[in-house]
Symmetry: C2
Subunit: 343 residues, 2 copies
Amino acid sequence: MMTRPAIGTVAAEARVSIKTVSRVINNSDRVTAATREHVMGVIRRLGYSPSPNARRLAGHRSLLVGLPFDNPYASYVTDVQSGSLASFRAANYQVVMHACDSQSPVLADELRLFVHSVRVDGVLLTPPLSDSAAVIEMLDRDEIPFVRIAPSGRNDPTRSVFAGDRESAAAMTRDLATLGHRRIAFVIGHERDAGTAQRYMGYCDGLRLSKLSLDARWVVEGDGSFEAGIASGRKLLRMRKADRPTAIFASTDLMAAGVLHAAHELGVAVPTALSVAGFGDEPLASQVWPRLTTIRQPLQGLAQQAAAMLMAQLRRDSVPAPAVPVQSSLVIRQSTAVVASRC
Amino acid sequence: MMTRPAIGTVAAEARVSIKTVSRVINNSDRVTAATREHVMGVIRRLGYSPSPNARRLAGHRSLLVGLPFDNPYASYVTDVQSGSLASFRAANYQVVMHACDSQSPVLADELRLFVHSVRVDGVLLTPPLSDSAAVIEMLDRDEIPFVRIAPSGRNDPTRSVFAGDRESAAAMTRDLATLGHRRIAFVIGHERDAGTAQRYMGYCDGLRLSKLSLDARWVVEGDGSFEAGIASGRKLLRMRKADRPTAIFASTDLMAAGVLHAAHELGVAVPTALSVAGFGDEPLASQVWPRLTTIRQPLQGLAQQAAAMLMAQLRRDSVPAPAVPVQSSLVIRQSTAVVASRC
DNA sequence: CTGTTAGCGCGTTCAA
DNA sequence: TTGAACGCGCTAACAG
């Protein structure tokens, strides 16, 4: 088992200085095309690849980015992960996951410990972490670069990527109205969850655009979970017939699945007697019966955008520019239909 | 912003050599309790923590372990991740995820590239990767330490952790028989998926123990996916009444959810007219209607065990010892019940 | 555009 | 049990 060649070996073989080889492998433009070609040839011939460990030490960086998460949807986490992985890896960065509890009063301290012990060079913030003032403040104070995925506030645009939740929630609401629904209920998610506020506003927009009035009876509070969906569904479906909504729009797929559960329980047929819509298009959405009409969030695209922004920050080259919101789209499946009964 | 203290600062402050400080932070026993105490005091006072980057370079290791995965269940991946994270981190190791395609003909080469470019010190192999001969061979040849999670073969016990799939599948089958089911169908998973063979054998065991005979009509091949579950469900439920199974045991939760879908589609009531059981107890299992009876795999425990084994290998201290299989358990929910109709 | 000279912060060989 | 000096493989000034 022969030892792998180091940068010195390449330099000697190519009859150039170590620094030149360094410039070549770092894509510096202060090298003539000819020498670059030549050095690259030697590199290939020797099968050389630079030692990340040495680069870390000499470059004063870990080549690691942190991805803390507290998200009940496994698919959300894996989507962000796989969406960002490619961009990071292309820049020789690796992602380090970190499970945490966003409810914890010492969240920021706990994250600070993580960031400093692992010495990550930057951090990707997913909801609900992307909205934690304490975390943002801590990172800023410690000068750790970060990018926020789908925060609820629209300030800080050069360090955030957005998904246009409000617009798509409005579109879904209008779509339900178009199907003839006039009593469209909405199940709010957890206040800490990023999209929540935007989605609710979108629902209100949609009602207004459809000439329907907002009615507090049809707005219930959930917390994004499946169980909350069940509870909300029961509450809405047990209203007396004249008041009972003909459509329920839940601001997460998980809650929509819970609403379906409640409907089955109470013998309410979907979509015949009730339309149900979710948000997110997680795998679950197409694995329940009937398959959920929902909103597809281009999460992987969002994550990719976020990763690119973070890498740009770490390179300090390009000027920070706000990202364009990635567009979501409606996915119409079997859980929604035109209203059956007369009004 | 003051620069963080290095090992030299600590040594000077404690009036000992750098090497002594090094021994203290590495828990070497060649240090008297008194000096250790003293040095630890200085370390705490200065808020010193060793630079991972320097340790990486000097120690010829990356302090990184690879976790390649190709698994359709997001929750499986996140479970393994969170189960192993603590053990790894306690040893100052970080986990680097790597998405890959287990079907690819160049899987081993692709993984080899990953392992060498990231320079991971070890690898955790999840199903179906834990069964790939090509991958195992590659890692052995390149002398990369690894641990396999739930491989189908029982050889290589000092580098594997097991879940006892066979026993729990048998238990589930017997449980269904106890409920009075005599026509118990089984949906096989993907051959490449680790548990598959074991689970099928467990089904056969269970039948035998319940004095029921294996009948090829009631054994259908799926591939572990939701769609395969639908197809299998349709096939089984469209048999003529006398032959139709009264219980369907699918070897993954995803397929069981597909079977439920087929049942709803065909108007077969669950669990009244049909019992359905899954395997894995993923979140999905309790989010479908009705909630699935299934087998809970202590995945996090398995992953933790695997992580500990890998760290032991990397330390080269303890002698490699086989792990004790982690026990699974039946989770009885609403999708199974006693047979309703006469035989 | 290229080369020379110092480190980066720790582990490890020896000797004491 | 402790210490001194060297080296890990590369990047970063600066000089040419």
